[in-house]
Symmetry: C2
Subunit: 208 residues, 2 copies
DNA sequence: TTATAAATTCGACATCGTTCAATTTATTCC
DNA sequence: GGAATAAATTGAACGATGTCGAATTTATAA
């Protein structure tokens, strides 16, 4: 067949991403199949290559959707946290929501890190970059809010490091890795580490 | 052919693991091929299934070899750290060696976490379990040494959490994830977080 | 209506994991 | 030593994958 009037180019793109995301959530990265994703959309494999240019770009688009849902999940959790609960509560809500999303979307969440992008050969579309940066942005904002203003390069670095800390707990937990095998509250542990580091940096900043 | 006198069963096992490990280091998990690994050993695919029972068990054996090399690497780094350097230096050496091994064996290191084991359907051989526990054991020992004795369930939990912290930094760094994209010293950041948490727990224990 | 351009398909290809009947080798027994 | 037995090894078969492009079909323009 040729150009069909079923969907506009944008609609087709959306449709393929939606079906791919659904399939990813069902099967996980290892058992994901572009053929099957296209089949579900009512198209054949080649269409994915036409629309996205290659499998990598398609997977990036699928994972970017997960990133966006994740950000929305975090914002919703923060919005549901009353200001009166104090500033610690916002950090706690953020970390717990981070874990809750990963837990509720295990396959899709892990796929984000299962798909290795060779940044040398692959260009990431700007909109996909933005979806990833948004998450970092949320944490940035909340840490600045917690520490009461002081933003700068050192807090920027700290924020990335705290994200890595939480990520490590979440990843080892969901992958069933030995280290966290019998830990019943990985989110709580991650949160404890985050507060210890935040406290250390507040004290440090105050004593200068 | 039938039973060949080229290798004893143990030798064959070793050979297959060695070739698999080499191939994993070269290609990484995504491009690993059991066929190719067997080919390099001078056997055909079926032999892997005979010896290990299935691909999962083979991959576990291959990754266990990486675990053992990793443990040896850490022990070597610790052995090279003079006692006179102080107890902080041992922790620093441990974390830096953790990163150095991962960096020097990227594909093999990542494969450890790329291979998802369904613990419901897969039984892990005792020797492979031990290879994984050994690493945790090293960190356990060093943290107890640092804190000057006090061992118990709470330190056990802390140790696992610190491992998760370091793992998170290392994983995001090597996978080229956005969060740590421009961080020039991820190991230093991980180390800083570890010391912050260790300090917090020493203070806590001392004030009781 | 016809010609042009764009989208879509589908088959071809090499490869993968998995299984198992057939084959080859080593050992045992006479 | 030679035949019978047991064990290890192979390789073909199967369904599935990603990747590519020529052929086909559709929509639009002339």
């Amino acid at each position: 067949m040729g150009r069909r009037s079923d969907h506009t180019p944008d609609e087709l793109r959306e449709l393929l991403i939606a079906c791919g995301h659904e399939l990813m959530a069902e099967r996980g990265f290892a058992k994901f199949s572009a053929r099957e994703a296209a089949r579900r959309a009512g198209y054949s494999v080649g269409t994915i290559y036409n629309v996205f240019g290659g499998l990598d770009a398609y997977l990036i688009a699928v994972n970017s959707r997960t990133f966006r849902e994740w950000s929305a999940w975090l914002e919703a959790a923060l919005a549901a946290t009353p200001d009166a609960a104090g500033s610690d509560a916002r950090i706690a809500a953020l970390v717990r929501a981070y874990f809750a999303f990963a837990d509720a979307n295990r396959n899709a969440w892990m796929a984000i890190y299962d798909h290795r992008i060779d940044r040398g050969n692959t260009v990431i579309a700007r909109q996909d970059e933005l979806a990833r940066e948004a998450l970092t942005g949320i944490v940035d904002r909340e840490v600045v809010r917690w520490s009461g203003g002081g933003n700068g390069e050192s807090t920027r670095r700290l924020v990335r490091s705290l994200i890595a800390t939480v990520h490590g707990h979440c990843a080892l937990w969901l992958s069933g890795s030995y280290a966290l095998l019998r830990e019943e509250d990985p989110a709580g542990q991650a949160l404890a580490r985050v507060f210890e580091s935040l406290a250390a940096h507040r004290a440090q900043a105050g004593s200068r």
